[in-house]
Amino acid sequence: MREITVRVNGQERKRLVKDNELLLDFLRERLEVRSVKAACWRGECGLCTVKLGDHLVKSCLVLAVEADGKEVETVEGITPDGELTPIQKAFVSHGAAQCGFCTPAWVLATHELLQANPHPSEAELTEATSGLVCRCGTYNQIREAVEEVSQARPRLAKENLASS
């Protein structure tokens, strides 16, 4: 057992954890961050995706102690004011969720992609989300949702130059 301090969705959380505890279980069981799901427990499905520091990671393959002193962000963290973010709104209007079990992971992954790259190409979207799976088959609706947010964002002068 050791005490770790993790900044989760902007809030500092201190907890005693066992050395063998997974970040997934730390978030779900100890902090009750329930948007983080699991479906394979071995890094294949991507439902446990969280942002750890600067990167998206699969929290079923990360130890809780590794997050000590770091920042973790989940879907709960991208909607701080109660207002839905553009990608969340687009998921709703395009029907990009069916059973919804994988949806938080897809929202987080596409949100992060759009933050880093406001106008992702088809190939960039496919690559960025290649670690995620959706059994209901909402892929086309997710594409449409990302496309809509991308279209709505102004292109930077630099990007216009590049594309013209």
Partner: protein, 288 residues
């Protein structure tokens, strides 16, 4: 080999996060066979869930500065620290000149896994279907190993002894991977996947030098329990990538490379795929 675990929690272990290579080595010496080194943790955590490994001590080397470096060693090549993530390696042209490795790593799993996984970890898993070992063997890479008794360097081809079996003794740690100076080496990687995230067959090719001094390495992955070179195919293209030579190499590889049946594919299909990917990779190298 059936992958998948009924368990979702990890066995008990003590976690250590050494801040230097000396500290890491001291921990390894103290705990011997009871210790496992963790880089990105992708392989180790999965193996621990499956109870293929149950170390009492896990030594996380992500913050060991000596293992975080990528450096040019004059007269030798590029040394890639064991704790450098694949994502980091793929950024900023680090692997310029090592196309075969870059191509293999760019398709490892997905970006989230690549931000954690390391090249050394990928190699140490020694899973038959992963892509980096054939690429490393084609480049003539070696594994840099440190122990309390000193350091040693082993060629990758000898390092992998079998599935999940590597030449690493208790108390030792992989500190890095040494890629020899590329010096105009032309190299490329191809794989075929279907119904699996893993490769059914892969090939790594490196052509170095020219004329009579030309050296060729063609290494096949995922077809057998460990990566295998095909001398006959190499011989076929030794005097140049002509269409006739490429065809001969593809035929030779398909005939000579030993392929196995497993959960992903039959040996017969793999033999066919070997021909297909050999043609594909050499065709690409011809037009490069």
């Amino acid at each position: 080999m059936s992958f998948g675990s009924p368990y979702v929690t990890l066995p008990d272990f003590a976690y250590h996060r050494p801040k230097s290579l000396d500290e890491a080595l001291a921990l390894l010496k103290e705990h011997g066979e009871e210790a496992k080194v963790m880089g990105g943790g992708v392989g180790l955590i999965a193996f621990m869930k499956e109870r293929l490994m149950s170390p009492a001590h896990v030594i996380d080397v992500k913050e060991v500065p000596e293992l975080r470096q990528v450096r040019h060693v004059p007269g030798k090549g590029l040394s890639i620290g064991a704790a450098v993530s694949i994502k980091e390696l793929l950024e900023g042209g680090t692997l310029r000149g090592y196309a075969v490795l870059e191509e293999a790593l760019a398709r490892v799993a997905d970006p989230m896994i690549r931000s954690r996984a390391t090249l050394a970890g990928n190699l140490c898993e020694a899973i038959p279907w992963v892509d980096s070992p054939p690429a490393l063997i084609a480049l003539g890479a070696s594994v840099e190993i440190a122990g309390t008794g000193g350091t040693r360097e082993v060629p990758v081809s000898g390092f992998i002894r079998g599935p999940v079996d590597i030449d690493l003794n208790p108390g030792e740690i992989v500190t890095g991977i040494m890629l020899p100076d590329p010096k105009g080496t032309l190299s490329a990687f191809e794989k075929f996947t279907a119904g699996s995230e893993f490769s059914l067959a892969s090939v790594a090719v490196a052509l170095a030098g020219g004329g009579r001094k030309r050296s060729v390495a063609m290494v096949y992955g995922a077809v057998s329990s460990t990566p295998v070179r095909c001398a006959e195919a190499e011989q076929a293209v030794a005097d140049g990538l002509t269409p006739a030579n490429v065809r001969r190499a593809a035929d030779m590889a398909s005939e000579k490379v030993e392929c196995v049946d497993d959960v992903l594919a039959s040996a017969a299909y793999r033999r066919h795929l070997v021909k297909v990917i050999t043609t594909r990779v050499l065709r690409r190298m011809m037009s490069a």
